[in-house]
Each structure stands twice: as structure tokens, then as C-alpha cells.
Symmetry: C2
DNA sequence: CCCGTCGCGTCATACGTACCACTTCCGGCG
DNA sequence: CGCCGGAAGTGGTACGTATGACGCGACGGG
């Protein structure tokens, strides 16, 4: 299999009857006063005729830059990170940058020294907080953290783009409190990440500030069955909560299952809320009240910050507000309804 | 901002007191009888001390290969393609290859007209059928198609890895027929792709071969509300179907909503089936009977085929069987139950 | 008539790596 | 003693591109 070698700029030069330098000038676009329009057209035609595509490796070597950034996320199998990629890739493409994705620790196999294969020709790194530990693999590379909280790496400050999850959680709690709920159950993700700690703390503070507010709490993995079990534990306590606040839409799906298993109707007997507003939220019955986190914009903003950093500008830290989406899974508690 | 230049193999050579050639030999691993163990250790130590990382661009240029393949999918925001990536990346990493993702037509921007557009340094392309049209952007590049059907590109044969969707659909129809269903409604995706054509044809043939079998059909986009509308149309016909066969799990979620809107219980009044077995299938209530398509294995097999192709081996076409997953959304029809 | 200038291009080089061809050292054998 | 051969390592070059430093003819002013 003789790998057919693609035409080089030298071939184009020969075809057009000019020198390789001229080809480079013309195709590089900076020939304003150096090449006559006629010659430029000839070069373009020759390139077209031969189907010339510049060799990226040579260009990268010459320029010392790859115009490629690495997006590090824990997984693409979860519904949340696809849109993050989409937003990041859109902004990158607009600036002529490419994006390579690395999932970590999903890719924990292969040569242990580099789970990233040959993708190390990188100008910068955009890393989700869940992949923060892998940042050390790229010392000296400009980086931006996503959703990691404001206090990551106090020694070596790294720009961050975060969600306003605390505000989002306060909005949820306020919404439920406004409906008359006082007994809250928190089905929390057992994941040691800033975003979940922030959610838990915001909920706890809001409930504590509510006259008569009571909060119970249980934890689970981010999957349906584990969430169902945790919800069952909360609901089988004496004086069970009238509203389950879930850290995540998928966890809320587990809460639905728990309610169904106990013969409770959502939302008449039990209000349930999620977080993130992934596709699932509108596929469930009833549709889920949740907080929309603009994942695509997170990727876009993060990429913008990273490109700023690469251009020598200092990016501003940025917080993207979450938005309460009130759907059909929340309603006044039975007791309150009776009370009125 | 003086971009701090990383150490090169020349720096390592100086540090170790040897020539650059020797550094290359040692770090390249092919020094079996050419370099003394003592020298090799010295080189390794020096490299470690300086934190040397080889420059990928230079290596790519020298070797004429990038050890990187492009995965082209329509989007990462849909739940199906994340696992495809995961499987592909796992196999690639095991062989020292990296994967870059391109979503298309999601990324429909960029200076595509210029030959200096964002041309990627790529050894091969792994393309989902939904992105088949973009293959033309990489002429002469080895490629493997995923889920495109056996007859794509008759002129220039391209290896393919497909799902056995026809068998999967026959399994669904057989399962429903075995429960006693005779009146089927097909909520079909209005997408012009082989996989959906194959599903429709397999279902039509199976129902036609069933004594007393009746099939009605309506189409929708792949989203919940559009699917709900299509399902409502099918269910509001005279003599409505007792089972809705959906092209996709998300469409099945729409069918659930239609059933609920009409006051029908799933599965007592209406059986519903999906396709793909994405995360959603077990989050719904009742859990969805569907066909599991091993998406991760599709990516893995496709990558294996592509690496074979790159190595000069001729990959065998491969079909991955779908597996019927009978859950709680299917049951005998009311009429049949009464009949017994 | 000569020299500066300008428009149009070309020469040469460097980026960092891998690898072929070559040299040097040195012990052993005829 | 001379020669051979293997071990150990080095010199040099090429990959394809971008770009600063030049060449060169023509034109025009002094």
C-alpha cells in the first residue's frame, strides 16, 4: 500500500511556474503588494487543479502553534457534556481553531503515560472540573476551568467559567417554599465536586432561613436505580418530605420511580425537582421542574476565555446564571392544599 | 507574552552530553544494540530533568503520519453518539492513536472555501452515516462508514460497520405478535437514512407476513413533541393500533405522552416499543421495551476496521446484532386478554 | 547619467524530529 | 603486526511550510 503522497506547495509552484515562496504568499493571503493579481490567480488555479491541501504538520512546526485546543471532560456518554462540546467547537471554529476531545477518566486505558494518544499538539486546555486532576499533564499550557468553582488552584490562578448553581438552587427552594412546602428531602449526588457542594450548601441555607423549614438528606450515585433507593429511604422516614430536591435530572427520574413504587402521585402527593435541564427533563411524565444550566454557553464562554488567554488578553471570570424552569412536577403539598 | 519554549531533543542532548541523534534513538525505543545501557539511562534522566516532551508537529512532519483519526458524527448533543466516541477512542488509544471529533453539519461554519481552511492533520476518517456527505472533504483519505448500510458508495467501496437493525425490528414485531398484537402503529423518524429505511421495511414485511396483521404509519422529527403529535394521529384513527412501534427511544417518550393525554395506560391499554436503548429507556415509567444497539461497540469495531485499513489490511464488513430488551412497556392487548 | 524607489518575486533558512550512512574505538584472530 | 568486525555513537539530511532578506528590471527625478 504505497500511501499516495499529496501535492505540496512545491508541486503547486512548479505547476504555476512560480517559486514555492510565492505559493505560500498567495495562499497565505498576505500578498497585498508583493504579488500581481495575475500571478495570484495562476497560483490559485494551479492549487485547485492539483487539489492541494497544505500539510498541517509542517505548518504547525513552522508556526509553533497548532490552532487546536483540548477539551477535557469526564465522559461524553452522559447527556450534559455533548452540548458543552458543541458550544466550544462553534466558538473555536469561528476563530480558526479545532477542538480535540479527551474523556477522562473514561479513557483510563492504553499507554498509561498518555491517555490522549498523539493529541498532545495542543495550544491550550479547556477542562471540566471533573477532569481537573488531569490538568497536571499539561504543565505550562494555558488552561481554563469549567464549572470548578472560584477557588480552584489558589496558588496558580486559572481562569474559570462557572454556573450560578447556588442561585439556581435558591430559586428552586424559593419556588417550592412559595408553593407551601416546608419539609424538603435532598437527593444528593455523592460526587466530590464544587458544583454539588455548592448546591447542597445553598439548599441547606435557604431551608434553614425558612420558618418551619426542615431538610433531610441522602446521597446516591448519578444513576436511576441508586437515586431511586436514596429517594425511597428519604420517603420512608417518619414525617417524610413533601418535596424532593434532586441534584440532577437523572436523579429526579429515580425519584419518580420511588414515588411510583410507593403509590405517590407526582406532583399531587410529592413535588420533585431536578437540575441541569437535559433532554430527559421534558421526556418524563410529568415534565420536570428544574434549573436550566446553559451547557452550550458554558462551552462557548470557556472557549472564548481560552482564546483570550492564548491571545495574551486576560479573560474575566464569568458566572452563567441558571434559570428556573417551572414545569409540571411541582405543586402545593397536600397538607397546604387542605389547609386552604 | 513570550511563549515559553519547551525543551527540544537538542537541549536534552546537551544536558546528557550526547548528540541529538542519540536522544532520538533512546527515546524512540529502538536502541537495542546501538546505545549502551548507561548512556540510555543518562539520556532518560536528562529528559526527565528538563521535562522534555517531544514536539508532535515535528514528529508528524518527519514521519508523514499523525496517528490521529477523525470521528465524524452529526452531533454530540444527541445521546447516541457519545458512546460511539467512547468505544472508538478506547480502541484508538490502545493502538497509540488519538481521536478528534467533528460534528457535522453542526459546525457548518469556517472558511471552507479556502484551501487554507481548517484542514485537519488526519490519517483516516470514521464517519457516521448521517455525516456521509462530508466524506468528500477528505479525498484520498482512508475511511470507514458507520451504520450506513451495505450498499453505500458502490463505485468506491468503503468498509462499513452496521447494526442488524432489520433483525432487531423483526424481534420487536415478533415479541409484540407473540403477546397477541395484530394492529401496529409505526411512529417513524422522518430522516432519510438507511437505518430508518431498514427499520420501516423490516417492520412492514413482518406485519404483512402475520395473519391478520395491520400496520399504520406516521412520521415525525426526532424530538418528543413531534413524536407525541404523530402518535396522537395514529391513536385517533378508527380502529387504532394496540401497539406503537417507535423508531427511537426518544420517539417512544413522545408516544408515552400521547397515551397519557388520551388517558391510556401503558402497557395495559397500549404497548410501546423504542429503539437504541439509550439511558432514557430505563428512566421512563414504565421502563421501555426496546432494542439495544451496542453503540460503544460500533465505535470500537469501526475504529478497529479503520486501523486495519491504515495498516494495509483489508477489514471485513461487520454487522452488530441488536438485542431485544423486553421491559415493562409491552403487554398483551386488552382485547386478547379479554379473549382468554 | 546615475541613483533611489517601487513593484514583483525568489533565495535561503529554520522549525524539531527520525533515521541512514558513516566514523571511531577496541578487542581478537590469523 | 595488520586486519576485520562489532559496538557505540555522530553527522547530515529531509519532511513542507512561512517569512525575512535580498535581487532585479523599470521608471523618474535630480
Amino acid at each position: 500500500m504505497p500511501a499516495i503522497s499529496r501535492p505540496t506547495s512545491k508541486d503547486v509552484a512548479q505547476e504555476a511556474g512560480v517559486s514555492q515562496s510565492t505559493v505560500s504568499l498567495v495562499l497565505g493571503g498576505k500578498w497585498s503588494g508583493r504579488v500581481s493579481p495575475a500571478t495570484a490567480r495562476g497560483v490559485r488555479d494551479a492549487a485547485e487543479r492539483l487539489g492541494y491541501r497544505p500539510n498541517q504538520a509542517a505548518r504547525n512546526l513552522r508556526l509553533g502553534t497548532t490552532r487546536t485546543v483540548l477539551l477535557m471532560v469526564p465522559t461524553l456518554s452522559a447527556p450534559f457534556f455533548g452540548p458543552v462540546y458543541t458550544g466550544a467547537a462553534r466558538v473555536a471554529a469561528r476563530h480558526g481553531f479545532g477542538v480535540v476531545v479527551s474523556t477522562w477518566p473514561d479513557d483510563a486505558q492504553g499507554p498509561a503515560d498518555s491517555p490522549f494518544g498523539s493529541a498532545e499538539a495542543i495550544d491550550g486546555v479547556l477542562a471540566s472540573s471533573m477532569a481537573v486532576d488531569a490538568l497536571g499533564r499539561f504543565p505550562g499550557t494555558p488552561a481554563v476551568m469549567l464549572d470548578s468553582g472560584p477557588d480552584v488552584r489558589p496558588g496558580a490562578p486559572v481562569p474559570t467559567v462557572d454556573f450560578g448553581v447556588a442561585d439556581g438552587m435558591r430559586a428552586i427552594a424559593g419556588h417550592l417554599a412559595g408553593l407551601g412546602h416546608r419539609r424538603f428531602g435532598h437527593v444528593a449526588a455523592a460526587v466530590d465536586q464544587w458544583t454539588f457542594h455548592a448546591r447542597a450548601e445553598a439548599l441547606a441555607r435557604t431551608v434553614a432561613a425558612l420558618p418551619g423549614g426542615v431538610l433531610t438528606r441522602d446521597t446516591c450515585a448519578i444513576d436511576v436505580t441508586s437515586a431511586k433507593d436514596a429517594a425511597l429511604r428519604l420517603l420512608s422516614a417518619p414525617d417524610p418530605p413533601t418535596a424532593l430536591v434532586c441534584d440532577d435530572d437523572l436523579i429526579a427520574a429515580g425519584a419518580y420511580k420511588a414515588a411510583r413504587a410507593l403509590g405517590l402521585d407526582v406532583p399531587a402527593d410529592l413535588s420533585v425537582t431536578g437540575f441541569d435541564d437535559v433532554l430527559l427533563a421534558t421526556a418524563l411524565e410529568p415534565e420536570l421542574t428544574t434549573v436550566r444550566l446553559p451547557a452550550e454557553e458554558l462551552g462557548a464562554r470557556g472557549m472564548t476565555a481560552l482564546l483570550d488567554l492564548l491571545a495574551g488578553r486576560r479573560p474575566a471570570a464569568r458566572v452563567l446564571p441558571g434559570e428556573l424552569i417551572a414545569r409540571a412536577s411541582t405543586a402545593p403539598p397536600r397538607a397546604a392544599t387542605k389547609g386552604v
